[in-house]
């Protein structure tokens, strides 16, 4: 059985004297949506940065397993190799698009490594040799597919920075998908979205999981999104895992409620309201 896509084992991350992540272990199942939640400053984004190679964890092991059994030790890989070889794609909390380039260009850049190979590492394509044109058409087709899925098709030739906020979030997901990942890491995809956009996002993520068979790792504050679509939830507080389980288990866990109660009033209220709404 090859059921686990990501195995995080005893990961610790220190910045100088500050312990951001303390001995964290959890697993993410294949074809499932795993959410990481926790109060502000709990270390969620740091976990993402370790998984995607932007930070090197101080200790610990992060193993990613492909469906064919190939294994990657993420803590030993450069950030760009994690996307290129281990097939992990991510989005950013504070959207990072190529704002001065068009939506379509954004999606083609996500297919850089494939296209690079197709262009004979530039040497053949600059001379007009090889089958680069065909590959570029395929890349555009893939881009068109994800634009269609995200409803951005008619904005393909507009600069990315010109899109409204909600569309920028969607574009960032579409861009990540164009790099053909097996694991998609989303850092607060619902932040700043209105309820309607938030619901659309839910549908999009569920579709990504069903149709493309992709596993999703999600950081989210919006409990509506988390509780509705997650298969499994990991709760962090002060860099430690305080609870784990299905949405139902997590919401009943006293440690989770205490963690949220211990932080900010509005956040607690938000959680309580959600919990009531769900129940």
């Amino acid at each position: 059985m090859n059921d686990t896509i990501l195995d995080v084992a005893h990961m610790t991350m220190r910045f100088g004297g500050l312990v951001a992540i303390d001995d964290l272990s959890f697993t993410a199942r294949r074809h499932a949506i795993t959410a990481i939640i926790g109060p502000n400053g709990a270390g969620k984004t740091t976990v993402f940065n370790c998984i995607t190679g932007f930070y090197k964890p101080t200790t610990g092991m992060l193993t990613l397993t492909h469906e064919d059994g190939a294994q990657f030790l993420l803590e030993r890989m450069d950030d760009f190799r994690i996307n290129q070889h281990a097939k992990v794609a991510r989005t950013f909390q504070n959207i990072r698009l190529f704002g001065g380039m068009t939506v379509l260009e954004n999606l083609l850049i996500a297919q850089h490594n494939r296209l690079m190979k197709a262009s004979g590492y530039t040497f053949t394509a600059v001379l007009g040799l090889g089958a680069y044109r065909r590959h570029e058409r395929e890349a555009i087709d893939l881009a068109r597919h994800w634009l269609d899925r995200t409803g951005l098709l008619d904005r393909a030739d507009d600069p990315a920075a010109d899109l409204p906020y909600g569309d920028q979030r969607k574009l960032e997901i579409a861009r990540a998908m164009c790099s053909r990942p097996v694991l998609l890491c989303l850092d607060e995809p619902a932040a700043g979205l209105n309820p309607k956009e938030s619901e659309e996002l839910n549908q999009l993520l569920l579709r990504i999981r069903e149709e493309a068979g992709i596993s999703i790792l999600l950081i989210e504050h919006d409990m509506g999104v988390v509780m509705k679509i997650s298969d499994h939830i990991v709760v962090l507080d002060y860099g430690r895992k305080i609870a784990e389980g299905t949405p139902q288990q997590v919401r009943d866990d006293p440690a989770v409620i205490a963690a949220y109660l211990g932080v900010e009033d509005e956040e607690v209220e938000e959680v309580e309201k959600r919990l009531e709404g769900e129940a």
């Binding site: 984004t45 940065n49 932007f54 930070y55 950013f92």
Partner: protein, 304 residues
């Protein structure tokens, strides 16, 4: 040993000059995050104003050297500060909210302008000044080599220490210093809290230019010749000093200046004098690549 000691003295003297220029770089970088590329040329202008003021005083028959030095220093500081203020006002302030590289490019333009302005106004030839401060002490003798500590070297080092102390105190204890540190942290917030950001930045340039003027005066007295081109190389070396010490840190600038002065002097003394600039430039590259936050600076964590 004697030779080594002599080089040490020479290196510390040179380092003091670099350190004073480096303060201007480090303060400006600290407050608006840009390299004031024209700062080396401000130093050159300081040297020229000092030279002209000396000649004026000599022409007026003032022969009491300490008084002449004091007058020249004050005049050079004032008038060079005006240049520093103007450069900021014309070339940097309009671009404060522009993209990052714009002020760097105007800075290069300013640097070119200042060099050529002085070249046209004062001529391209080197300007000699007869020794003003003479004499000194022999502090050690042996092996047919005597270690000299000249009066001018004493003046340079003492003056540098005094100015350093004065300005460190200024930054630490006055409202100007507080405003400066506030602007360094967050310019917009400082503005919202009532700090006059424009004025604070202008004053930073003025102080930096005044110190560069003192450095220019020292350079003039120490070497006895200047030309319109001295700012370029001295500027890069002083910038290296600022980076080496940790950009944004005043003691760092001084420490960096001394180290660069020592490296240059010892390189010239023990290796080849032709390649002394290569040594300084390579030092810059090495420091930035391996020690980007400098000796006394704070390391940065990349934000993702």
């Amino acid at each position: 040993m004697e030779y080594f000691l002599q080089q040490l003295i020479n290196g510390l003297t040179l380092g003091s000059i670099y350190g004073l220029i480096a303060i201007g770089y480090t303060m400006v970088y600290g407050i608006i995050g840009m390299i004031n590329f024209a700062h080396g040329d401000i130093f050159m202008i300081g040297a020229f104003i000092s030279l002209i003021m000396f000649l004026v005083l000599i022409g007026l028959g003032l022969t009491f050297i300490p008084l002449a030095l004091l007058i020249v220093m004050i005049v050079a500081m004032l008038f060079t500060a005006a240049w520093g203020w103007t450069v900021e006002r014309i070339a940097y302030r309009p671009l404060r909210e522009s993209f990052r590289l714009a002020p760097l490019i105007t800075a290069i333009g300013m640097s070119i302008f200042l060099q050529n302005f002085v070249q046209i106004a004062q001529g391209a030839r080197v300007k000699p000044l007869q020794p003003v401060v003479t004499g000194g002490y022999t502090i050690m003798e042996g092996n047919g080599f005597s270690v000299q500590l000249s009066n001018i070297q004493i003046i340079i080092m003492v003056l540098t220490v005094v100015l350093m102390a004065a300005f460190s105190w200024l930054i630490a204890n006055t409202s100007l210093g507080r405003a400066q540190r506030a602007c360094e942290q967050d310019r917009v917030m400082a503005g919202l809290l009532g700090v006059n950001v424009d004025r604070t930045i202008s004053l930073t340039f003025v102080i930096g230019a005044a110190l560069a003027a003192v450095a220019g005066l020292m350079f003039l007295l120490y070497y006895g010749v200047i030309d319109f081109y001295i700012g370029f190389v001295a500027g890069i070396k002083a910038f290296t000093a600022a980076v080496l010490g940790g950009i944004g840190s005043l003691p760092g600038a001084m420490l960096g200046g001394l180290i660069i002065g020592l490296i240059e002097t010892f390189w010239s003394a023990y290796f080849t004098i032709e390649y002394k600039d290569v040594a300084a430039f390579s030092m810059l590259a090495i420091v930035l690549i391996f020690l980007p936050s400098g000796l006394l600076g704070k390391p940065e964590v990349e934000k993702v």
